[in-house]
C-alpha cells in the first residue's frame, strides 16, 4: 500500500497543531500519555543512533541528541547541555522547546520533551529512570532543565 509521503508539505508541521494535540490530550487524560509518547520517541532516537546500552560521556550524548532533536534534526528543542550526576543520573538543559513555545504556565510544562529524555536515558543506561523539571521556560525561566535520575 502506498504511504502518504507529503511530497508538497514535507516532514514538518506548525507548533500550533502540536500544542493543540498535547494540551488537548492533557486536558482529557493529564500528563501520562504525553510522557509515554515522549519516552517512546526518546528510546527510538537512541536505538536509531546505535547507542542502546552505551556508556558514552555526557558531552558526546549531548552532541548526538542535539543532532537528532535540534536544528539539524526534528527541531524539538536545542539540547544545550547534558551533565552526568554522581547518582548515575543526568541533568539536561534545553532551550526553544516545542512544549513551551508560546505557552505560559504556573507549573513545569514539558511533558513530551522531558519524556523524550527519560526514554533516551533509559535506553542509554539500560536502567529504569524517572524525570522531573526544575526550571521551565513556560514559567519564565531562561531554559528548561530536567533531572533524569535512576528510579
Amino acid at each position: 500500500m502506498a504511504t502518504n509521503d507529503r511530497p508538497t508539505l514535507g516532514n514538518f508541521m506548525s507548533l500550533t497543531c502540536f500544542q493543540y494535540l498535547r494540551v488537548g490530550t492533557e486536558e482529557v487524560a493529564e500528563r501520562a500519555p504525553i510522557v509515554a509518547a515522549g519516552r517512546k520517541r526518546g528510546y527510538d532516537v537512541i536505538e536509531s543512533l546505535g547507542l542502546i546500552g552505551s556508556t558514552q560521556d555526557a558531552a558526546l550524548i549531548r552532541d548526538q541528541l542535539d543532532a537528532a532533536l535540534g536544528i539539524k534534526g526534528t527541531k524539538l528543542c536545542i539540547v544545550e547541555s547534558v551533565i552526568a550526576k554522581p547518582n548515575g543520573g543526568y541533568e539536561v538543559r534545553i532551550s526553544e522547546g516545542a512544549c513551551t513555545a508560546g505557552q505560559t504556565a504556573s507549573q513545569p510544562h514539558c511533558a513530551f520533551t522531558m519524556g523524550v529524555f527519560i526514554g533516551a536515558f533509559q535506553a542509554i543506561t539500560g536502567a529504569r529512570v524517572k524525570g522531573y523539571e526544575t526550571e521551565c521556560c513556560a514559567c519564565g525561566a531562561a531554559a528548561c532543565i530536567y533531572q533524569i535520575d535512576p528510579v
Partner: protein, 124 residues
C-alpha cells in the same frame, strides 16, 4: 535501611501474599507513568501497563473533577478473564493491581488501599 524501591517492592510483596490466588500482579507507578517497582508477571509489559494505569488515573481525575464528585479513590476494569484495579498512592504515585477472575473484591479493596497508603508514604 531499606531503599525507597525496596520499601515499595516490600509493599507489593505483602499485597501479593495477603491476596493469594486473587492477584496475578501489581505495579507501583509515578503519576507520569514511570514504573517505580513491579511484581507483574514476565508475560506483561510493566512499562506499558504503568503508562496505561497512569492514564487511567488521569482520565478518572478529569471525570470526577468535571462531575464535581470529589477525588477518585479507585478505578476498576472488569474484563472477561480478569480485573484491573488502579488507585492513587498519595499524590505522586499510584498502585495498579491485576486480578484473577472471581477475585474477592471486598478483600482486594481493603488490602490494595493499605498497600497504596504504604507506597504513598514512601514516595511523599
Amino acid at each position: 535501611m531499606a531503599t525507597r524501591q525496596e520499601q515499595i517492592t516490600s509493599a507489593l510483596d505483602r499485597l501479593s501474599a495477603n491476596l493469594g490466588n486473587d492477584i496475578s500482579g501489581a505495579v507501583a507507578v509515578s503519576m507520569d507513568g514511570i514504573v517505580l517497582a513491579s511484581r507483574m508477571s514476565s508475560e506483561v509489559n510493566a512499562d506499558r501497563v504503568g503508562a496505561v494505569a497512569a492514564t487511567m488515573v488521569g482520565v478518572t481525575r478529569r471525570v470526577t473533577n468535571e462531575l464535581k464528585i470529589g477525588a477518585p479513590e479507585e478505578a476498576i476494569i472488569k474484563a472477561s478473564d480478569g480485573l484491573f484495579m488502579v488507585l492513587p498512592a498519595g499524590d505522586q504515585s499510584l498502585l495498579a493491581v491485576n486480578l484473577r477472575q472471581g477475585a474477592n473484591l471486598g478483600m482486594v479493596r481493603i488490602e490494595a488501599r493499605e498497600a497504596a497508603i504504604a507506597i504513598g508514604r514512601v514516595i511523599s
